[in-house]
């Protein structure tokens, strides 16, 4: 189906829809990348056979199920294990040695989606002998993905790719040590969950989660406009203890934020930064 030429009216309708969603359900997408939101909303519009965003707004206000669908469309959960393997390799080389000097560690993985990233960190920390003294908080605002993350079960079809990633990331064992296959799925070792707390948390509307030694938030900030990026980075800053770390996605940066200057770059390419000790 072809979407008709966008009009200024459509942009007004979109603004009103986001406002309505916030007032009715408390989800605030007003400072997300508008081009992204618009694409997803129009996708939902075409899926539901409605002819305008205003119609969609009416439906969303009166039908929570319709709202749930849209939320699923708006939260992009694309993820993988050991995504960008060199990020994990750099963690091993440049961050882990320092973290080893701590008696107890807390890590917050924000926007963790269905948990692949969290299990990757659990494996890395285990191999580095740090897991037993680490507490991982893994959060996302999408209930469905947090439920999925808690199971630690993933489709077997990706395992080849994940294995290659794991090896490139400096994995020390055989990746198959960490899961067993069952039909079309792999089930990760429940031991890996021992130190993880999965929780629903919205970075836009909820307060600081915990005081931690490291925040990992990858490929979430790209969906926010600059204002919201800065707000969320300030929340992370509040959460990170002096000398602590933050790891971002490969195209995200602290530059242009209030954190710039107060953090030093550990790995410019892999986007790992360290909070200065004042």
């Amino acid at each position: 189906m072809e979407h008709q030429q966008p009009t200024p009216t459509e942009n007004i309708e979109l603004e009103l829809l986001l406002q309505a969603m916030y007032l009715q359900y408390g989800y605030d997408f007003r400072d997300y990348s508008r081009a992204h939101i618009k694409r997803r909303v129009i996708h939902r519009l075409m899926q539901s056979g409605l002819s305008s965003i205003s119609e969609l707004q009416h439906k969303i206000l009166h039908d929570p199920l319709c709202f749930e669908k849209l939320i699923r469309d708006l939260s992009i959960n694309v993820t993988e294990m050991f995504r960008n393997p060199y990020f994990y390799k750099s963690m091993r080389q440049n961050v882990i040695p320092l973290l080893k000097t701590y008696p107890f560690l807390k890590i917050w993985i924000a926007g963790c989606s269905s948990g692949e990233e969290v299990y990757s960190f659990a494996i890395l920390l285990k191999e580095e002998g740090l897991y037993e003294r680490t507490q991982i908080y893994a959060t996302d605002f999408n209930h469905d993905v947090i439920q999925k993350a808690k199971t630690g079960v993933y489709p077997i079809k990706y395992i080849k790719e994940y294995t290659a990633n794991y090896q490139q990331a400096g994995g020390k064992h055989s990746f198959s040590n960490y899961y067993h296959a069952s039909n079309d799925s792999v089930i990760f070792d429940p031991e890996l969950k021992k130190q993880i707390v999965f929780a629903v948390h919205n970075l836009v509307t909820d307060a600081v989660f915990a005081e931690v030694n490291m925040v990992i938030c990858r490929n979430v900030l790209i969906y926010f406009n600059r204002k919201l990026q800065n707000k969320v980075l300030d929340i992370f800053d509040e959460s990170i203890l002096p000398g602590g770390y933050i790891g971002l996605g490969s195209k995200e940066t602290l530059q242009f934020s209030s954190l710039d200057g107060r953090y030093k770059t550990v790995d410019a390419k892999e986007k790992i930064f360290k909070k200065k000790i004042e």
């Binding site: 072809e2 979407h3 008709q4 030429q5 966008p6 942009n11 990348s33 508008r34 081009a35 992204h36 618009k38 694409r39 992009i76 694309v78 490929n219 790209i222 969906y223 406009n225 600059r226 990026q229 490969s250 195209k251 995200e252 242009f256």
Partner: protein, 195 residues
């Protein structure tokens, strides 16, 4: 070609064979070219920025990998980073996303073209070059529907004819030209460049 329109941006989509085509097209543009140029070239998600570095060295116009939230300005070529979709926002900044592949591709030409059409409307030129899939066809139609000017590389002239052919079928572009002719049009006084 509508003489009243000033074009402010050009979007280019290419897939297999695209690197060769871009290596001819981009070096033809002068450093002070009065349009911003945004490029999606399909590539492996694991590629580094070698292609961009190489194109930059070969060209007088500045060629760079797009950064997120960067403001789009004339005289610069922005290449979508591997494994990210590139979008243009209403305030003429770039956003990136890792959404699902569109037409089996990330970056996808359609995603760039549709969002750029939304922002630049009739001040946009859309160009679909060589390729072996159908990405870019719907995007080019969006450029045309928004009043922009549309060009497709002549399938006869393209290394891979499938993508241009698909774009021609769906978008019915204003012109179908060889790569040399496309370069001539982009440099023709009174079109993008001043008279």
């Amino acid at each position: 070609m509508n003489k009243q329109t000033t074009y402010r941006a050009i979007v280019i989509g290419a897939s297999s064979g695209g690197l060769h085509a871009l290596k001819r097209l981009l070096p033809a543009l002068p450093a002070d070219y009065p349009c911003a140029v945004l490029v999606v070239q399909h590539m492996s998600p694991h590629s580094d920025n070698y292609m961009t570095t190489m194109l930059n060295m070969a060209s007088s116009i500045k060629v760079k990998e797009a950064d997120e939230k960067e403001v789009v300005v004339p005289g610069t070529v922005y290449v979508a980073p591997p494994d990210y979709h590139m979008m243009v926002e209403a305030d003429e900044t770039i956003s990136l996303s890792v959404d699902n592949k569109v037409n089996y591709s990330r970056p996808s030409i359609d995603v760039l073209f549709e969002t750029a059409a939304d922002t630049f409307g009739e001040q946009l030129i859309g160009i679909v070059l060589t390729g072996a899939n159908a990405d870019g066809a719907a995007g080019l139609r969006a450029v045309k529907n928004a009043g922009g000017y549309t060009i497709v590389q002549d399938p006869e002239d393209a290394e891979s004819p499938v993508m241009p052919a698909a774009a021609i079928r769906l978008a019915k572009p204003h012109s179908i030209l060889s790569l040399d002719e496309i370069i001539k049009v982009l440099l023709k006084p009174g079109f993008v460049l001043p008279l």
